[in-house]
């Protein structure tokens, strides 16, 4: 018998620390059914969307029973190591690394036993895990840092570039994105560079380390880095950016928005004929607004992108995307974006477990946080 720990909550509050607590549960790996797989946490990111979920302003989390009590388990992203598999399991073996296929698993926990080929109990798909690293394949060189945050941001960036428009892929076409220094944007710039798509990353200006940020983004793959002020200026809308497009002979087919408000409205203006403005996040409560004439005559569509929704609609799309993303990591075409580690030593007291998460919550607005299990 093993003691498992999970970060759980039963009510919602804007002050997250008031509602989260640690649930301890017994978990028995010695007696797995043939269709079961036992997993143990390696790394669980703390994403902003996980936090708003606890605040009650996002999708409602699944209710699950832990040690006889109905709770929600926090988290939607996590990397696990397979510890043991039942007799009829063919897809996985002990030592493999995996992430869960469907969202809403509740990833902030040390251990779990998953039922395969039977989704009645877990609400999960047939094969509820996606393999990230095969323990016996010598060729795989994916690191734990890469794998820890592989489940959401890289596939988000990958799918946004895939789903809406067809790029020329010969160095002509362009994409523009706001929040250019975000994790997703950094992955998007890298993947775009690999696919020979030019990227304009829009960032907030006026930071003391502005030049450093610009350099980092250019090194990662951004073709141009501009400030919000520039993006919202007429000069950039009518001269600068059109001139860049002219130089490559392509068009700006996709604008990627995770900010909203004026920032998004400016992205709309940069788009070429038949372009798409795709939103996947919102910081600014102001709505997006755009000229009807531009929408009609340039045939511009505005849409949402939501990784979770794609996964729910077509779970295999996540598997396919992850396969491509792993390939990109392994070939060195994209690299990991730094995050801050909050370590919990497996077997340590439950207060330490809680503390690791609370530290991550506190620093979440500043940098990507991951709770690492050692």
């Amino acid at each position: 018998m093993t003691k498992g720990l999970a970060l759980t909550y039963t009510s919602f509050d804007s002050d997250i620390s008031k509602v989260v607590s640690v649930s301890e549960y017994d978990i028995d790996f010695s007696d797995l059914k043939p269709n079961q797989v036992a997993i143990q946490a390696l790394a669980t990111p703390v994403n902003p969307s996980d936090l708003v979920q606890i605040q009650g302003v996002y999708t409602v989390p699944r209710t699950q029973t832990v040690q006889g009590k109905e709770v929600h388990i926090g988290g939607n992203e996590g990397l696990y190591q397979v510890v043991k598999v039942g007799d009829s399991i063919k897809e996985f073996k002990a030592g493999d690394w995996a992430i869960t296929k469907l969202p809403n698993f509740g990833t902030w926990r040390t251990h779990a036993i998953l039922d395969f080929y039977d989704d009645a109990n877990t609400g999960l798909n047939d094969v509820p895990l996606i393999k990230i690293k095969d323990s016996t394949k010598a060729s795989t060189n994916i690191t734990i840092s890469e794998a820890a945050t592989i489940g959401v941001n890289p596939p988000t960036a990958y799918q946004i570039l895939e789903q809406f428009v067809e790029f020329d892929n010969s160095g002509k076409d362009w994409v523009i994105q706001n929040a250019g220094a975000s994790q997703v944007s950094k992955f998007l710039a890298q993947i775009a560079k690999h696919r020979k798509i030019n990227v304009i990353s829009v960032i907030r200006g006026g930071k003391p380390n502005h030049d450093e940020i610009v350099k980092e983004l250019i090194d990662l793959g951004a073709t141009k880095v501009i400030t919000e002020e520039e993006s919202q200026s007429e000069k950039f809308q009518t001269e600068t950016i059109p001139q860049w497009l002219k130089e490559t002979g392509g068009s700006l087919k996709l604008a990627v928005n995770s900010v909203g408000g004026k920032s998004a409205s400016a992205l709309f203006k940069h788009l070429s004929q038949d372009g798409f403005l795709v939103s996947y996040g919102v910081l600014d409560p102001e709505p997006i607004s755009y000229s009807i004439g531009l929408q009609l005559f340039k045939n511009i569509t505005t849409k949402a992108y939501w990784f979770t929704k794609n996964t729910k609609t077509d779970p295999e799309s996540k598997v396919r995307t992850l396969t491509s993303v792993i390939d990109l990591f392994e070939s060195g075409d994209i690299k990991n974006i730094e995050f801050e580690k909050n370590v919990y030593k497996l077997g340590d007291r439950k207060e330490a477990f809680l503390e690791a998460y609370k530290n991550a919550f506190a620093k979440s607005s500043k940098a990507k946080q991951v709770v690492i299990f050692e």
Partner: protein, 386 residues
């Protein structure tokens, strides 16, 4: 064909022939600007007794003034007619107007698909419909049943000049927006539209009803609101009519949800021709995964959509421009036209009335007539009939 384009030989033509040719007039512009400043009447001759083998001579029955025609003259519309000296003008010029109904009055020897007496509309935009006559080729025309064709087919009724002359933009816009993008389940699903009292709005509610779709038409509050609601619901097919105030009110949301729940469907489509807050209101009524199509901007305000509507309800906002959709898609245009014509012939669809002005060649200046039409176009669609 045109006396002025063959000016070097025209003298010979005239001396050889003593009969009179057709004196045609067209409203032309050689540069862009305010219509009152740049539109001119150009008079030219058409020789209808020596029609080239592949040509067709047309007489105009009626052509309307559309907002896009005005924008075209102003030079602020992306689709523009080519300016040429084909009509014998000194400067390269274009004829105004995109929509119109014509009767064929002469055909060349190789024309097989059209005969004298047939009715036709331009196959494409930028035809230049503000004119008394035109000479063109088969590929530039789409045939419509004239009243005797309809009678021979046993239809209830033939097309009126207004129906034929205004068929290409508004009824097609309404039909295609309702059918080309989202599949609405008849009897269950809903669409919502602002500008419910506009020409397209009235076609959309009627066509919606013909196709079995429930509709909510948003209209501006007014003194005779009740009679407008009655007209839209009882004669023009709207299932529900609400005011702009109700469209913007959070408290009214549950009423709409109740209607939609009763039919067991969803609000899958929103049609926006207003913009501003009104567009936000109709977008908010959409069910998950709904589509808002914007086809006009009467308020001159931008489309305004909260990002959260995109993200949490997966709403898509796209433009609808009938010209762009039908360009290079003649089959779709034909299919759609056939449907509209058949509804007109069966008296199932009411056309939006126009204010008709008849052209009298003995006293009217044609350009002035269209300038007046442009001036009055805010008061209702203006149609010049011949």
């Amino acid at each position: 064909m045109f006396s002025s384009t063959v000016s070097r030989t025209s003298q010979k033509l005239f001396t050889r022939q003593t009969r009179s040719m057709i004196t045609a007039q067209a409203v032309i512009f050689s540069k862009h600007g305010e219509p009152k400043d740049v539109l001119k009447t150009h008079t030219y001759q058409i020789d209808d007794e020596n029609i080239p083998e592949n040509s067709i001579v047309l007489k105009t029955l009626g052509s309307p003034v559309n907002p896009s025609d005005i924008n075209q003259v102003q030079g602020v519309y992306p689709s523009q007619p080519e300016k040429t000296t084909e009509l014998g003008t000194d400067e390269p010029s274009a004829v105004g107007g995109n929509e119109g109904l014509f009767e064929i009055i002469g055909v060349g020897s190789k024309i097989s698909n059209f005969k004298v007496g047939d009715w036709a509309i331009p196959a494409n935009v930028c035809f230049g419909t503000w004119r008394t006559h035109a000479v063109t080729t088969e590929d530039q025309l789409t045939k419509l049943n004239n009243p005797s064709d309809s009678k021979a087919l046993g239809k209830k009724s033939g097309l009126s000049v207004n129906q034929g002359a205004t068929i290409s933009v508004n009824p097609l816009t309404a039909y295609l927006m309702l059918t080309h993008y989202v599949k609405l389940a008849p009897g269950k699903d809903w669409f919502i539209q602002n500008g419910g009292n506009s020409a397209v709005g009235k076609y959309a509610s009627q066509i919606g009803k013909l196709l079995g779709f429930n509709s909510i038409s948003v209209v501006r509050d007014r003194d005779d609101l009740d009679s407008l609601i009655n007209e839209l619901k009882n004669e023009l097919g709207a299932t529900q009519v609400i005011t702009e105030e109700q469209n913007s009110s959070k408290d009214f949301g549950p009423t709409i949800k109740g209607w939609v729940k009763e039919t067991g469907g969803e609000v899958k489509l929103a049609l926006n021709c207003v913009g501003g807050k009104n567009s936000t209101g109709v977008a908010r009524k959409l069910s998950n995964n709904g589509l808002m199509l914007t086809y006009g901007g009467m308020s001159m305000q931008p489309v305004t959509i909260p990002t959260s509507l995109h993200i949490f309800k997966n709403i898509t906002s796209a433009g609808f421009w009938v010209t762009a959709l039908l360009k290079g898609n003649p089959e779709l245009k034909k299919k759609t036209l056939d449907q509209i014509v058949s509804w007109y012939e069966n008296e199932e669809l009411l056309d939006a009335p126009s204010v008709e002005t008849a052209f009298d060649a003995t006293k009217d200046d044609l350009a002035q007539l269209y300038k007046n039409g442009i001036e009055n176009s805010k008061k209702g669609k203006q149609l010049i009939v011949y």
